[in-house]
């Protein structure tokens, strides 16, 4: 085994090279952010900062903070509600073999993959007609288009639980809802974490729904950042700092709960 390890040590060369490749954008975002304004020059963009300054972050935050709050205000309820719905759906689809369950499930799943351009015009028309505009409308879109993936994750989890668990509870006279509330819900925490992280990340990172459903006072961070990057007035260094601010919430979630993030990712490809 030891010789095997040694003979494979050369693999660190390509692995480290790839690590550098993946870190480059992060490196540029970080070092640019920490430079002071008078250090900013495209010619020295690869050089490390001379000291630690927060000019760029302060400037970017002052421009982006309203949209950061918009994002939080929209993403948190969207993630919570679509996870709750997914859990209920998953429970019913996994544990109640009614006629048609096998037909309904793939129909729900397909909704996860559609290009949203194919529903964009009706979505905007509908939301305007129903008077659900701005952030509530955006949250609602994320909840509804999140139902497929949240349902899938919970259904697969509940289907993996032994049927005896439910049978025993039924014998004891528990109702359907009681089984869900007292048996399944308490052991669903890991699945909730997976789904919450997934929904948080995808709603936070969404651009398309945000740009059609919100106006400029309600822009979430992705739209605000893109507009900032498209403007000629705001310097590239502030854009870099802004990018890091926009990436930070999901990046922190990934750093601390990466295992759960990966499970959501695999579920999204139907490989969970």
């Amino acid at each position: 085994m030891k010789t095997l390890r040694l003979s494979k040590a050369w693999l660190y060369v390509p692995l480290l090279a790839m690590a550098v490749f993946y870190l480059i954008p992060l490196y540029v975002m970080l070092i640019t952010g920490f430079k002071s304004f008078d250090e900013i020059d495209l010619k020295t963009m690869w050089d490390l900062p001379r000291g630690i300054a927060f000019d760029n972050y302060v400037e970017a935050f002052s421009k982006l903070s309203p949209s950061l709050w918009n994002s939080f205000a929209m993403v948190i309820p969207a993630a919570l509600i679509s996870s709750m719905l997914g859990s209920l759906n998953g429970f019913v689809l996994a544990k109640w073999k009614f006629r048609g369950a096998d037909i309904i499930f793939p129909f729900i799943l397909f909704g996860m993959f559609i290009p949203y351009q194919s529903i964009l015009i009706p979505l905007v028309q509908f939301m305007n007609a129903a008077g659900i505009t701005g952030l509530p409308g955006l949250a609602m879109a994320h909840i509804i288009y999140g139902i497929p993936i949240t349902t899938l994750t919970f259904r697969n989890y509940y289907a993996s639980l032994p049927q005896e668990l439910l049978e025993a509870a039924k014998m004891d006279g528990a109702s359907m809802l009681g089984i869900y509330r007292y048996i399944l819900l308490p052991i669903s925490l890991p699945s909730f974490v997976v789904v919450l992280i997934w929904q948080f990340t995808s709603a936070w990172n969404d651009f398309l729904f945000a740009v059609v459903l919100t106006g400029n006072t309600e822009w979430p961070i992705t739209v605000a950042l893109n507009n900032m990057a498209g403007s000629q007035i705001i310097a590239w260094n502030v854009q870099m700092a802004g990018s890091l601010l926009a990436a930070l919430p999901t990046l922190l979630v990934y750093i601390f709960l990466g295992r759960y993030f990966l499970r959501g990712l695999l579920a999204g490809s139907l490989k969970g």
Partner: protein
């Protein structure tokens, strides 16, 4: 507790979601189809029947031809690049090296950030400005003495989409790696050991045992990456804005509808996108549910 009561309760629990999906997915698709068959142009809705004229116009539209070509270039570079890189990374990480978890997390982190962030940063990394305004990768190449590597990235005539695909590979190759790594871990160790005992070397083991066994993973990755590339939108907008040489159907749909108010045409592009995705995804869902049903 009666069976009937449970049944009614189940229906009550699940029907809001089913109704929402029914309306927001299938109802809206039908609505889009109807818009695509109309003369709607301008701010107020106009459902005057127009047959398939919007579709015919698109197939004769030089801009749509550019879009199709760009999508093909993007798909080719992005899918092949992500598959190869993802596979190689997974194989390297499957060798039981120390620090595997660290590398795995590192290669996958771009999946946690948005295409917009990726695009904004890569737009500066791939800055095509030359001369005294050279920056980004081009500057790095010059500093490293790799002068011949300097190029105009996404502004390269005809092949600019390949540069966009490059940024997309950065974002999604870790995901492909994760898929392959899960696939590799599912292959029993005895198979490898048996092949080793029979005298096969590492290369032969991968060539004749692992790669064939991984073909379901390759299929999943192909479909996920392929359908992602049909939908590419944010990344291009963030790197290059809306410019014709880098146009794709998703951006054309956007501009036709919300900038030009050609609702009929916009809806037709949306439906064409949907059909291209459906061709990949529907068989995939069927296949997945079928293989799931037989353990």
């Amino acid at each position: 507790m009666s069976k009937d009561k449970d049944r009614i309760l189940n229906i009550l629990l699940i029907s809001p979601s089913i109704l929402a999906v029914l309306i927001f997915v299938y109802g809206f698709i039908a609505w889009s189809v109807r818009v695509s068959l109309s003369k709607w142009k301008g701010l107020s809705a106009d459902y005057t029947w127009n047959g398939i004229k919007n579709y015919l116009d698109l197939f004769a539209d030089p801009r749509f031809a550019v879009d199709v070509r760009n999508t093909l270039v993007f798909t080719g570079v992005f899918v092949i690049g992500s598959l190869l890189l993802g596979f190689l990374l997974a194989v390297m990480l499957d060798q039981g090296l120390k620090g595997e978890g660290f590398f795995r997390s590192l290669f996958l982190f771009p999946m946690a950030i948005s295409y917009i962030v990726t695009g904004v940063v890569w737009r500066w990394l791939m800055n095509p400005a030359m001369g005294s305004r050279t920056s980004g990768f081009n500057l790095l190449f010059l500093n490293l003495g790799l002068d011949s590597w300097v190029n105009s990235w996404h502004l390269t005539p005809k092949w600019g989409m390949a540069a966009i695909a490059f940024a997309a590979i950065w974002q999604m190759s870790g995901y492909t790696m994760a898929l392959y790594l899960a696939g590799l871990r599912a292959i029993p160790h005895e198979l490898r050991e048996a092949a080793q005992i029979d005298g096969a070397n590492d290369l032969q083991i991968y060539r004749h045992i692992m790669i064939p066994l991984l073909s379901p993973v390759t299929l999943s990755a192909l479909i996920i990456l392929g359908h992602t590339s049909l939908k590419v939108f944010d990344l291009i907008i963030a790197i290059a804005g809306k410019q014709l040489p880098l146009d794709v159907p998703a951006i054309y749909m956007w501009q036709a509808t919300f900038d030009g108010l050609f609702y009929g045409r916009g809806a037709a592009i949306g439906i064409i996108l949907l059909l291209s995705v459906a061709v990949l995804i529907i068989p995939y869902i069927r296949y997945t549910l079928k293989t799931e049903a037989q353990p």
